[in-house]
Amino acid sequence: MRHRGRGIACMWYPIGFTVAANPSAAVVKVNEDGSATVLTGTVETGQGALTVLGQIAAEELGIAADDVHLVSGDTDATPMDTGAIASRTTYVTGNAIQMAAAEAKKILFEVAAPMLGVRPEQLEARDRRIQVIGFPQKNLPIGEVAHHAQVVMGRPPLGSASYNPPTVAMDPETGQGKPFSTYVYAAQVAEVEVDDETGEVEVLRIVAAHDCGTPINPTLVEGQVEGGISMGVGLALQEEILFDAEGRQINPNLTNYIMPTSLDMPEVEVDIVKNYDPTGPFGAKGVGEPTSVPTAAAIANAIYDAVGVRIHSLPATSEKVLMALREKRAMQKQIPAE
């Protein structure tokens, strides 16, 4: 017989480690037509980091995503970056890019100020224009300013910056201190069906709410959550590298190491929790790793809710669930009264 159950789990996850140096550097060049080129030492590993970093540069310069091109992943051409690790790219590299873009923008403002007859502090960059704060009708196209800066004034608008979340030493005895800049939070609910004859667990639905600060690109945030959940399902139910007594892996292939396929993936609903972190670029924190954190716990709790057995070790394979059910039934049998 199949039993339904649901389980909840929440988590916290750090963004921007500070126990060791964690810098990113960036260069932003505004071209003579108002488009921009960004140099970053990070590498696109599929998560869409370059898209998000481009949006951050565009936001600071008041231009659109397509107006920005990113050059990345070449140690000769791009500045230092700690790398696509630790869910740090949006936060740390993003901060560096925002700062570098602000440097370039400062040059644009200094060039535009006399053209508009105001002081640089009175200007803002919006909608591809450099405009006077409070008087948006008084403006110049960013391309015109950039062209003027480079071709007439001889001041190509570019900026470089680096960001390092302030490094803090921890107390080695008590572990007290500030090991990370900030944290993200999330909760997931899993709905499962457990077959009490086979021990098989089917995950029907995962509902996920993730805080990532400002979602720079909500589609990419959802993509991270959906992908993280699939890894969480694998961790919960299927995946395990097994060894024989000699220390040899016995399933080093995708035939016998079972990772989730399209058939294993539950329905997923994603909510992005409203939040804003003033230490991140435009309020953003990060989202890569935390998405796979609470899923297995939520599924394990849902299994308990469905059939009343606690899984103490992952993965919760059919064999393990069935064994736990048998033990539970055995324990429920009473010794007859004399």
């Binding site: 599929g46 699939s230 292939n253 399209s262 058939l263």
Partner: protein, 159 residues
Amino acid sequence: MEITIRVNGQERTASVPPETTLLTMLRANLGLTGAKLGCDVGDCGACSVLVDGEPVNACLMLAAQAAGRDVLTIEGLGDFQELSPLQEMFELFSSFQCGFCAPGMIISAKALLDKTPNPTAAEVREALSGNLCRCTGYTKIIDAVMEMASRGAAESERA
């Protein structure tokens, strides 16, 4: 041995050792690197191509077995300037992340829609189950194929 295959509508010939797989011939001899090598034993589907309209793992088929047959690879669908309707749908849904599984996944989706223009969600999941993806949880991939199906646009998808 000399092998001639009709690839994406063109006769292509290469001289290869007899043990050469279709995948190796496509990638190394014909310069078509869209189909990927992910596992070399037919587990991951990254090398999926259509042979006479049927989806196969090109890493499991010898090039000689494809001789004289019609092979469609991802390069035979749309290109950067003009995507096929199915590819457009994948772009609309932002279905892929690292993209390594994309060529095989799109080929499998096409194979399904060519035969079954209005599949159920279960049929879509079944048809894609041989194509592993580690990034996306398949969510936006399945959504894109379901939307394609609901628009009944499969017929207009031409090789």
